[in-house]
Amino acid sequence: MLRELYFIARGFLRTSGALFLFFLHLLQYSPTVLFRRFPLVVHQIHNAGALSLVIIMICGFFVGGVLGLQGVSNLARFNAEDSVGTLTAFSLLKELGPVITALLFAGRAGTALSSEIGLMKATDQLAAMEMMATNPVRRVLVPRFLGGVISMPLLTAVFNVVGLFGAHMVAVGLLQVDAGAFWQQLQANVAASDVYEGIIKSVVFGIVASLFAVWEGYNAVPTAEGVGRATTRAVVRTAIAVLILDFMITAVAI
C-alpha cells in the first residue's frame, strides 16, 4: 500500500519535472522559430485559430444569449434589469470567456495537435527528421505550440465580443431592456483591470492548452490506441489544469 503510494508520488514528480523541462525546451527554441521560421507559425495559427473561429463564435453567441436570458429573468425580481449588461460583461470577460474558449480550444485545436504529432511519431516521421539532422522539436513542436499560444487570446477576445453581442440581442431585442442603460451600466462598472484580467487568463490558458496538447502527442505510445489515448489525456489534463489555474488567478486578482 505505502509502496504503491510511493511509486505514484514518484511517477507524478517525474512527469511534472519532465513536463517542465519540455516547456523550457520549447521556450528555448521559441525566439528562433518566431523570427526565422515565421511561415511555419502562421500555418499553425491558421490551423489552431482561424479554423476554430466558427465554433468559438457560435458558442460565444449562445453563452452570451443565455447569460442575457438568465440575467434579465433573475434581476427582474429586484427591478434591476438594467444591470444585465454589467452582469454579462463581468461573467464573460473575467470567467466564462477565457475558460470556455480554453475548453473549446482544447477540444477543437488541442486534439488535432496531439493526434497529428502522435501519428507523426507512430509513422516514424519524427525519427526520419532526426535522421535528416532536422530537430523535430524545432520543426514540428515549437511552431504548433506558438500557434496555439498566439491564437488563444485572440479567440477569447472574439468569444467575449460575440457573447456581449448575443447578450445584447437577447436582453434588448427580445426582453426589452433599454439599450442605453445596458451599455451605460456596462461601461460604468467594467474597469480596464477587468479586461486585463481576462486577457492574462487567456494567455495562461493558451500556454497550458498548447503545452499539454504538444506534450501528450510527443509522448504518445506510437500505436493507434496510444495516439487515441494521448488525445483524450491532452483534453482531460487541459480541462483540469485550466479550471484549477482559473481559481488560482482569480484568487490572486481579488
Binding site: 491558421h46 479554423l51 427591478n79 491564437s151 472574439v158 451605460q184
Partner: protein, 157 residues
C-alpha cells in the same frame, strides 16, 4: 502557392478580427444608439445635484423613453450641474414649462431623467432650457434630514 495564399488570407482575417475584438474590449467603444443620426433636438436643464446620472441615460416621459442624456457638466459660474439631453424629433409638442427630475428605476436600478408635462402653449425646441428641475434624492441627505428633524422635535417638546 494557391494553398499558401488561402492559408495566409484566413490567418490574416483571424488575426485582424481578434485584434479588432481586443480593441473593442479594451476601449469599450460600444455601438449603442445615442438617438444619433435620428432627427432630434437638444434641451438643457440645471440641477443642484444630479446624483449618479450618466450620459446616455434614458430621458422618459410617462415612463416612455423619448430621448437620451447627451452630456453632464458642471457650470463653474452658477455652481450647478448642466445636463444636456436629446429628445426624439417626433415629440416636438412638449410644453416648455415642463419640469425635469432625476429619478431611480427601482431600488437598485440606474438613474434616469423624468419629464413631467406642464401646461404652457409654447413648446420646447432646440437649445431651450427647462426652468423647473428637481435634484436627485441623495439617500444620505434624506437620512440626515430625518435624524435632524426627529432630534429637533424632541428638543421642542
Amino acid at each position: 502557392m494557391q494553398q499558401t495564399r488561402s492559408v495566409e488570407l484566413g490567418t490574416g482575417l483571424f488575426v485582424v478580427l481578434g485584434f479588432a475584438a481586443l480593441f473593442f474590449l479594451t476601449t469599450q467603444t460600444t455601438g449603442s444608439e445615442n438617438f444619433a443620426g435620428k432627427d432630434t433636438y437638444t434641451v438643457t436643464a440645471r440641477f443642484e445635484n444630479i446624483g449618479n446620472l450618466k450620459s446616455r441615460a434614458p430621458v422618459s416621459m410617462s415612463g416612455v423613453t423619448i430621448g437620451r442624456v447627451r452630456s453632464v457638466a458642471f457650470d463653474p459660474d452658477q455652481l450647478n450641474a448642466v445636463v444636456t439631453f436629446a429628445i426624439d424629433g417626433r415629440y416636438d409638442q412638449i410644453p416648455d414649462d415642463s419640469d425635469a427630475s432625476i429619478l431611480t428605476a427601482g431600488l437598485l436600478g440606474s438613474q434616469y431623467l423624468g419629464l413631467q408635462a406642464g401646461g404652457s402653449d409654447t413648446y420646447l425646441e432646440q437649445d431651450s432650457e427647462i426652468q423647473f428641475t428637481q435634484s436627485a434624492v441623495v439617500i444620505e441627505n434624506l437620512i440626515s434630514k430625518y435624524l435632524f428633524n426627529s432630534g429637533g422635535r424632541e428638543d421642542s417638546e
